[in-house]
Every structure is written in structure tokens, then in C-alpha cells.
């Protein structure tokens, strides 16, 4: 590759290449998949011992795939839009031949027989699977130091939590270990690490991306989604992941969209509803978070968006409904193991997963009934506006070894509403706090209108240059 690829990257900066830039560089013969993978492996060798992003690297298979991709691209045989691009996979998602441990002692020997549908789609598009990434235990118990693998750490400051439960995905993107990653989101687990690590995490509409081959946390709340360093990459990855899967009961047929199309249309005339009460009344956000949200709102208004205030149910009730449903559904999965081998869970996972034992059938059904009402309220709001703007995390990331502060700040978030309702929601960098940690913003939209959410996210990214802000590693 030339000293500068035209995108402003020197050879030593290959780890900051986005997937879109890498694909262009491959096509122009200025870079090969093998060169990129070698650079990323070297960076991971140097930095991951301090960050714990990977549970399991699959270097040999990845390099073999990169060599095949290199030869195919050189011969002009392009498999798909991600040909030769490395990707990391959260370790609750099956990759054929590798263990899916869910970061738990309970499943240390759980070898996947086949790829999850989302992984199979990545391979069809030409992506190269690098390995399995840290998570909170079963996507709920963390950050924990009593599990078989250490928790991932935040590249902006390794003394801090990278968010979760898709911790390795967020931390690895921010550290420049890979340009694309998969995460899952049941109560905010894609958007929390996106917020803590300053990357772009998108929970699509419920049913847009197949969950088949992904270890369930809560059937009616689980989403799989793209995590990236740029909005354009997020759209590119979603293009690959989206699609109806008749074997996933939650999957919905939706019109095929090309999410990357229209990203640069801007927000002129778009109606954006600002859900201020989430961070001004329901939970009082850190002043720097509140200021960052105001900056985002003013910037989008200056770009031509029409902003109005919107009122939704309170965050505490969204969270309660989310937790009652989550705990009830998770208990139905984990009860046999919690009865027989409770000692194989970490303390946080055990506490959180046993909560379902103390909920009654009526609690669960009432939560689902209240959920229907909440969906109606959000749907009504989205008839008046095109996209919602709100907080994601109310605080910058806590210190990872300060369990008390983590327990206090972890629930201070506005992500669960969109797991309860299933609307698409994206979280991304909104600024950097005085302590050097990322601040975040969230945009949500109508069912299957990921395009508008991405369009607003891109407008903010372009105005603020968030895709070029990286941790000082």
C-alpha cells in the first residue's frame, strides 16, 4: 500500500481503516487482505494482553481465508461487499468449529457445529472471521473477575469499563483490532459499549437480523446488530446482515433496503423529537453528557432538522418492563443449570439470572401487556416526528474495578425503551469528557426505517468528525 491511501492513512495507520476504505484499497490494488490482517494481528499481539478483547483468536483460519481472498480479488472474483474485510464475533454467536462459551464456565466445551445465520451471511459477503470476543457472562453478568476469561477493558482508559455486554466488540473496534464486529442487544448491549468506547453500535428493528445460532438471553428482546467505527460501515454491515429467516420465529420479512444509499442526504426538513425528560427528569445526566446532547441537537438544527420535544413513558418503567420480561425468559433457559451447577456462574450472572425464579406468570404477562401500551405510545410519537434523539448513557464509563460505582451507573441509561418496543436505535460518540472518556448520543426511528436513523447519525458524524476520533493508544 502507498504511504497514503488517499483517505489520509499511512501504512502504520492500517488499523484505523474503515471497512469501506479497506474494500476500496483492495479494489485499487493498493492493499491486500493479507497485508491488512497481518497489521491487525501485530496490533492485537501488542495491545490485547492489556485489553482482553479476544476470548479466542483464530489466526490460522483467518490468514488462510485472507490468502484466498487476496488471490480472488487479484483475479477479479469479488465474492461480496465485504470481501477480505476482517470481523470480530461476540462469543454468544456460533462460529462453526469454535467454542461458543458465552464467557461462562457453564459452556466451556460448547463447540458450535455450524455458523450462526449472521456469520454465514458475513462469510458469503467475503468477510474474514478473526475470532471470538469477550462479553458479559451470557450477555448479562458483568463486568466480572470471577469468570474463566478476564473482562475486556476500555481502550480510552484501560482502568475503565468498555460497556457491555458486547464488551470485546466495542473495545476491539475502538482499539483498532478490526473494522467490523457483531454484537447483541437485549437491554442495550450493543449501544452500551458503543457509548463507552466511542464507536457506532446499531440495534436494528426486532426481527430484521436473524438470531438463529445466537445463544438466547431473552427471546422477545434479543437483537443482533452491527458495530463499527463509522456510520457508513454500519450501513454496509447491516446490508449484509438484514434479511428474513423463516427459521427464526422473530424474523420479519421486510423490504430489501440498501442502507448505505442516502446516507449523505443530510437532515434538512427531517423532524427530530428530542426526548429530554430521559436525561433531565427521569435520570439526571452527568452535566457533560447533557451538554453534549445539547450540542448534537443544535448541530442537527443548524443542518436544517426541525427539533421538537417528545414525551414517552419514564425510563424507570421501561427498565422494569424490560427486566421482568428478560428475567422471566432467561430463567426459562437457565433454570436447569442454576439448579444443578450454580457455582459455575459468576456472581453477577448468578444473581441476575436467578431473579426470574421470583417472578410469577402474572408478572410476565402484565409486563408484556404494558409493553404493548408502551409500543403504542412510541408509535404515536413517531407519527409526529421522523427520528428520536435522546441520551444513551447518563455517565462516562465507570472504573472497571469499582464495582459499587459500576452497579450505580450501569442502569443509568436510556437504551431499554427500544428493546421493549423493538424500534431501531443507534448509539455513537457525542464528544469526549474532560476525563478523556467518550460521551454518547442515541437516535431511534420507526420500524424498519433504519435508513432515517443512519441518515441522522451520519449527519452528526460528518458535522462533528466523530469517525476520526480514536483513543490515545
Amino acid at each position: 500500500m502507498a504511504a497514503d491511501d488517499g483517505g489520509g492513512y499511512a501504512v502504520t495507520d492500517l488499523h484505523w481503516l474503515t471497512a469501506s476504505e479497506a474494500v476500496r484499497a483492495f479494489a485499487a490494488k493498493r492493499l491486500s487482505p493479507v497485508e491488512l490482517l497481518r497489521a491487525l494481528h501485530a496490533r492485537i499481539d501488542a495491545l490485547d494482553p492489556a485489553l482482553n478483547v479476544f476470548i479466542r483468536r483464530d489466526d490460522e483460519a483467518a490468514m488462510a481465508a485472507a490468502k484466498v481472498a487476496e488471490a480472488e480479488i487479484a483475479a477479479g472474483r469479488i465474492r461480496g461487499p465485504l470481501h477480505g474485510v476482517p470481523v470480530g464475533i461476540k462469543d454468544i454467536i456460533d462460529v462453526a468449529g469454535l467454542p461458543t462459551t458465552c464467557h461462562s464456565r457453564v459452556l466451556l466445551d460448547n463447540h458450535a457445529q455450524a455458523d450462526a445465520v449472521c456469520v454465514a451471511k458475513l462469510r458469503q459477503a467475503g468477510a474474514i472471521v478473526m475470532g471470538k470476543l469477550s462479553t458479559h457472562e451470557f450477555a448479562i453478568g458483568g463486568p466480572s473477575f470471577d469468570l474463566p476469561f478476564p473482562p475486556a477493558r476500555n481502550p480510552w482508559n484501560r482502568d475503565h469499563h468498555p460497556g457491555g455486554s458486547s464488551s470485546g466488540s466495542g473495545a476491539g473496534l475502538a482499539a483498532g483490532f478490526f473494522p467490523l464486529a457483531l454484537g447483541s442487544d437485549t437491554g442495550g448491549s450493543i449501544r452500551n459499549p458503543a457509548s463507552a468506547c466511542g464507536i457506532v453500535g446499531f440495534k436494528p428493528t426486532y426481527g430484521l437480523v436473524s438470531r438463529r445460532g445466537v445463544f438466547a438471553l431473552a427471546f422477545t428482546l434479543d437483537h443482533v446488530g452491527p458495530m463499527t467505527r463509522s456510520v457508513a460501515d454500519n450501513a454496509l454491515l447491516l446490508d449484509t446482515l438484514a434479511g428474513h429467516d423463516p427459521a427464526d420465529p422473530g424474523s420479519r420479512p421486510a423490504p430489501k433496503r440498501y442502507y448505505a444509499a442516502g446516507l449523505e442526504r443530510g437532515v434538512r426538513g427531517l423532524r427530530i423529537g428530542f426526548v429530554r425528560h430521559f436525561h433531565e427528569a427521569d435520570l439526571i445526566a452527568d452535566p457533560e453528557v447533557a451538554a453534549a446532547l445539547e450540542t448534537v441537537a443544535k448541530t442537527l438544527a443548524a443542518e436544517g432538522a426541525i427539533l421538537t420535544d417528545v414525551t414517552l413513558p419514564t425510563l424507570s418503567e421501561f427498565a422494569a418492563v424490560n427486566r421482568i420480561i428478560l428475567n422471566s425468559e432467561a430463567w426459562s433457559i437457565h433454570a436447569p443449570w442454576l439448579r444443578g451447577q450454580p457455582g459455575n456462574y459468576g456472581k453477577l450472572g448468578r444473581q441476575r439470572l436467578m431473579a426470574g425464579a421470583f417472578l410469577q406468570a402474572g408478572d410476565y404477562v402484565n409486563a408484556q401487556r404494558r409493553r404493548a401500551q408502551m409500543i403504542a405510545t412510541v408509535e404515536a410519537a413517531l407519527r409526529e416526528v421522523d427520528v428520536l434523539l435522546c441520551a444513551s448513557s447518563m455517565d462516562p464509563a465507570s472504573r472497571i474495578e469499582d464495582a459499587e460505582t459500576t452497579a450505580r451507573t450501569y442502569p443509568r441509561q436510556a437504551r431499554t425503551p427500544f428493546n421493549v418496543t423493538g424500534h431501531p436505535a443507534i448509539a455513537m460518540l457525542a464528544g469526549v469528557a474532560t476525563n478523556g472518556l467518550p460521551l454518547s448520543v442515541q437516535f431511534a426511528g420507526r420500524y424498519f426505517d433504519e435508513t432515517s436513523v443512519l441518515r441522522v447519525a451520519r449527519a452528526w458524524e460528518r458535522a462533528a468528525g466523530t469517525d476520526r476520533q480514536h483513543p490515545p493508544l
Binding site: S316, R339, R350, A355, A357, A367, R371
Partner: protein
């Protein structure tokens, strides 16, 4: 916290081993459940249906 109730429900749920080995964790789980139940407003309208609705036909 009603410890007697907590232990009774835990045993009914088959959590005897957890109760013996990790009593604090069982108590924390019991407290979490009660907290969330206390915050949620159950619909008063008897006609309010749950989500997702039962749908007949070839949806599976």
C-alpha cells in the same frame, strides 16, 4: 426482606443448592425481582393484550 418467603420460593424453584452455597446471591435475585415488579404499572384495562399477540396460521 421477607427471608422466609424468599427461601420458600427459592426451594419451590429448585434453588436449594444455590440457597445453600450462595445465599446472598439468592437474596439479591429476590430483591431485584421485587424492585422491578414494584415499579411496573400493570394495565388496568382488562382488554389490554400482551405483546406479541398469538397469531394463527403458518407463522412458524
Amino acid at each position: 426482606m421477607d427471608t422466609t418467603l424468599m427461601e420458600k420460593i427459592a426451594r419451590l424453584a429448585g434453588l436449594d443448592k444455590a440457597l445453600a452455597e450462595f445465599p446472598d446471591d439468592v437474596a439479591a435475585a429476590f430483591a431485584q425481582a421485587g424492585l422491578h415488579r414494584g415499579i411496573m404499572h400493570a394495565p388496568e384495562d382488562p382488554a389490554a393484550e400482551p405483546w406479541p399477540p398469538m397469531t394463527a396460521g403458518d407463522t412458524l
